[in-house]
Structure formats: structure tokens, C-alpha cells
């Protein structure tokens, strides 16, 4: 039964998501499925992501995962977005198995962001 459903990372990212918000003139990916809504936005300089922001409506794992993704990609090559897999997010945030579907939606959002950046390039 109830032991803490949220690990320390989920709690920290949920309580203080430093990447929640919008970016002027950014490429965006948006998905709405599984009772959640997620938007990722990134600005790019050359092949690198300079800034990344999210907006999310969903459970704490979804919000924390969005924050984790933003933290992870700022400063990295755009190409990495398209190689995104949710495995280590699932692990780092100890996402319960029944929420896998939601994290897959997040995965789709990351990929569509990659696509959007390429499209706008």
C-alpha cells in the first residue's frame, strides 16, 4: 500500500520546476493524450539547444519528467532529441509502471520538438 509514491527527484523537480514557462520565438512540440497535456519549447543556436522550457498539465511524474528533460537537453546537440528514449527518466524518477503510457507521450513530445526544430531550420 502507501509508501511514498514520489522519490526525492520527483519531489524536487515538481516543487521547484526551473524550466516551467515559455520561450520567445522557440520551436515547440505539443501533445495531449492519456489525460495529460505537454508542451516543450526550445531555442537553438547552431546545432545546440540553448534554452528549453516546458508547460505541463498532468500528474507529478509528468511535470517532474518535463523538468528533467529540459535540464538534460539545455546545451546539448539538437540531434540528441531524436534519440530520446524514456528509460532513464522512468528509472531516475521511479515512475510507476502504470504511468508508462504518460512517459511515452512525453517521448513523442520530445521527438516532435526535434522535428519542429529541423522544420524551422
Amino acid at each position: 500500500m502507501s509508501s511514498d509514491p514520489y522519490n526525492a527527484m520527483v519531489r524536487e523537480y515538481f516543487a521547484d520546476p526551473q524550466h516551467a514557462g515559455d520561450l520567445e520565438g522557440a520551436a515547440t512540440g505539443y501533445f495531449s493524450d492519456q489525460g495529460m497535456h505537454i508542451r516543450l519549447a526550445a531555442t537553438v543556436s547552431g546545432e545546440r539547444i540553448t534554452s528549453m522550457r516546458f508547460r505541463a498539465w498532468g500528474c507529478p511524474h509528468v511535470i517532474a519528467a518535463a523538468e528533467a528533460i529540459c535540464r538534460q537537453y539545455e546545451g546539448r546537440p539538437v540531434a540528441a532529441l531524436e534519440e530520446f528514449t524514456s528509460d532513464h527518466i522512468m528509472q531516475d524518477l521511479a515512475v510507476p509502471i502504470e504511468k508508462t503510457g504518460r512517459i511515452l507521450v512525453l517521448e513523442d513530445t520530445v521527438r516532435s520538438l526535434g522535428q519542429a526544430i529541423r522544420d524551422s531550420a
Binding site: S2, R11, R55, E98
Partner: protein, 388 residues
């Protein structure tokens, strides 16, 4: 401002035992531990403790203490009443009536009976959450044996009109069971005056011990039930097992204390609920799931548009509050009680139940309102504009 560690606003899930209850239990544990069924002096002393507790609980409900069966809680009482009466009367008819907004410990019993060949009519509440006597009367059939309707709803605080509903049952010679887990010790219940045949209660909802409850079985000749458990001859063979003397003593003490505090506490809770509602009702899209006029004031269930429930709950920490009832708070499903009251899935899943009790101070409620306002604001600020 120092942020409190934890603000417990989940009294509808369970209450802390009153200090005097704990003291009484400890006294009994050390001085009257013998088995009340034993005929020796120590056993007789334990039985006196039990008899005294039955008198205390009997006084709270205005009944003959002999009409009480001790159980492990309201879940068992509900099962014993419903399964026991349905099975005992099965040869007469197999139709039963209950409401969609009952607690799981009633709903699931009727579902089990449906699988066993009983027919159940599931009444829906009106917009105000209540079922009208006329609606109940319409549902009764020639073969109806039992109606089970709760007194105070555990999620919304909505109060059913037990008196009128019971009279409908009496007129049709149908047994009437009331799940009063949320009302005993909190509002007046006079079972001499109310047409109730079976009534379930549990200690831990009114500052008594956990693991002890009771079922009132009226002495009227028609009210017979089959036992669920078989064993020793205790409790007229209707509920065998060694009587847990100290728990019974604790429940008795809780009953007596509740009787003394009831009226003042009710007024205090009314003020607390009003204050919480005032502190949050201005939020865009907020709505009370319940009845702010006639509902039980110890519960305020609040929904808010466009906010995700699980995140809201986490954002509300350190408030200890519930989504739906505690016993299904593990599940992510929107409350079936609120759905039955006509709320959408989305509305239902944002619902937060605040419930207050004896230790709740006005400052707790102010803190709760503040916390709720900022949680909603923050989550909305994170959400995509399309949603928030």
C-alpha cells in the same frame, strides 16, 4: 512564517484517539485483561467493563445496550448487516436497494450479492446529493428485503434524511440498514425515534480506537441476520471471537466523550468550514462538492476546473488531505461518488476533501486556504494556456 510540518485535515479518514480513550484503554489493559467469557472472577470483571462500555454507547444512540454487536469496524458491520440480512431473508425475496454514493464497504457488498443472484437497485442521488423518500418508495418491490443508505457521506458530508427514508421502509415492511460510520459521535442519532433496523459504526471515526466497531441490531422480531463468522458462543453466536475488552472500553469512552462535546464541536466545525470556503471560493472555477447549508460541517470537498488532481494533492503538502475517500486514495480513478452526483471525470479528479476535527484550529484552516490558493495558482501557471 514558519511552515508547519504537517497539517492534518483528514478526520473523515480517521481521527486520533482521544487522550481519555487512550488512558481508559491502558487502565483496562492492565487491570481487566481477562477473557470476558471466562466465568472466574477476573473474567467477570472484564465482562463488567464490556457491559459498562455497551451502556455508554447505548446512551449515545438511545438504545438498549443489548442491541449492540461488537465488530472490528464499520466494514465488518456493513458486511454483517447486509450479507446477514440478505441471506437470512433470501427465501422471502432477493431484491435489495442501495445508493450509488455509498462507501465501498457497502457498494462492494451489494456487488458481491449481485454475483450471488440477488437483484440490486442502485439509486442515484439528486443534484443535492440526496435521495428523496419518493424515489426510494418507487424503487421498492414486493420482493424487496433490505434497503441500505448511509447517513453522512464520507466524501462530501452530504446528509441523507434517514428518518423519512426509514419510514418508507417501515411502511413497506423492508429492513433498513444505515451506514453511520461518519455520523455516530458527531451528530445526534436517536435510534428510539428513528426507524432504523440495523446501523453500522466504527470507533476510529469519532476519536475511539481503531479495530473496533459495532452493529446495532434492533430487537424488533423481524430483524434477524445470519452470522458471517462461526465459532464460540460469544455475542449470541452472531459474532464469535474473544471480546477485545480494552477496545470496547475505548469505544465506550469515546461515545461518552462525544456525547458531551457534540454540540459545541458541531458549531466550531461549522465556523471552520465557512472560513475555509471563504478563503478559496474566489478562485476561478472552484466549486464545493456537497451541501454548504445542510451538509455535515466537518467535511468540505472542493473541486476546481482545469487542475490535475494528483498534482494538486502533492502541491498541497504539508496538508494531509484526501482525494476521494482514503480507502481508494491509492487509485487514480475519479471518485465514483462525485461521478454519481453528476460531476465530469475531470471535475471529479480534481476534488480534494478537507475534513476537520477536534484538533483543527482556525489557523490550520487559514493555512489550508492559503496553501490551496497558491497550489492552484502554481499548477495553472505551469500548464499550457489551452488547459489552464
Amino acid at each position: 512564517m514558519k511552515q508547519p510540518d504537517n497539517v492534518y485535515l483528514d478526520y473523515a479518514a480517521t481521527t486520533p484517539a482521544d487522550e481519555r480513550v487512550i488512558a481508559r484503554m491502558q487502565e483496562v489493559q492492565t487491570t481487566s485483561f481477562a477473557n470476558p467469557s471466562s466465568s472466574h472472577a477476573a473474567g467477570r470483571q472484564s465482562m463488567e467493563v464490556v457491559t459498562n462500555a455497551a451502556r455508554q454507547l447505548g446512551a449515545l444512540l438511545n438504545i438498549d445496550p443489548d442491541a449492540l454487536l461488537w465488530t472490528s469496524g464499520a466494514t465488518e458491520s456493513n458486511n454483517l448487516a447486509i450479507l446477514g440480512a440478505a441471506r437470512h431473508r433470501a427465501h422471502r425475496g432477493k431484491h435489495l436497494v442501495t445508493m450509488r454514493t455509498e462507501h465501498k464497504a457497502v457498494v462492494d457488498v451489494f456487488k458481491a450479492l449481485e454475483k450471488q443472484g440477488f437483484a440490486v437497485t442502485w439509486l442515484s442521488p439528486g443534484d443535492d446529493g440526496r435521495v428523496l423518500p419518493e424515489v426510494l418508495a418507487d424503487a421498492l418491490r414486493d420482493d424487496t428485503q433490505l434497503v441500505s443508505i448511509m447517513h453522512i457521506n464520507n466524501e462530501t458530508g452530504i446528509v441523507q434524511d434517514i428518518g423519512s427514508l426509514g419510514r418508507v421502509c417501515r411502511e413497506h415492511d423492508v429492513l433498513f440498514h444505515v451506514d453511520a460510520a461518519q455520523s455516530v459521535g458527531k451528530v445526534h442519532l436517536d435510534l428510539q425515534a428513528l426507524p432504523v433496523d440495523l446501523l453500522s459504526l466504527t470507533g476510529h471515526k469519532f476519536y475511539g480506537p481503531k479495530g473496533i466497531g459495532a452493529l446495532y441490531v434492533s430487537a424488533s422480531p423481524g430483524t434477524h441476520i445470519e452470522p458471517l463468522l462461526w465459532g464460540g458462543g460469544q455475542q449470541r453466536r452472531l459474532r464469535p471471537g474473544t471480546l477485545p475488552v480494552e477496545l470496547i472500553a475505548g469505544l465506550g469512552a469515546a461515545a461518552e466523550i462525544s456525547a458531551a462535546l457534540m454540540d459545541d464541536e458541531y458549531s466550531r466545525l461549522t465556523a471552520l468550514r465557512a472560513s475555509l470556503w471563504e478563503g478559496i471560493c474566489a478562485i476561478d472555477g472552484v466549486h464545493a462538492n456537497g451541501d454548504l447549508n445542510n451538509g455535515y460541517p466537518g467535511i468540505l470537498n472542493v473541486g476546481v476546473d482545469n487542475v490535475e488532481g494528483e498534482s494538486l494533492l502533492l502541491a498541497l503538502e504539508p496538508l494531509c488531505v484526501a482525494t476521494g475517500s482514503a480507502c481508494n486514495s491509492q487509485s487514480q480513478e475519479p471518485s465514483y461518488v462525485l461521478r454519481a452526483m453528476g460531476r465530469s471525470d475531470l471535475q471529479a479528479q480534481s476534488a480534494i476533501r478537507f475534513s476537520f476535527g477536534r484538533q483543527t484550529a482556525p489557523a490550520d484552516v487559514e493555512f489550508a486556504a492559503r496553501t490551496y490558493r497558491s497550489a492552484v495558482e502554481r499548477l495553472r501557471s505551469i500548464a499550457p494556456e489551452a488547459v489552464a
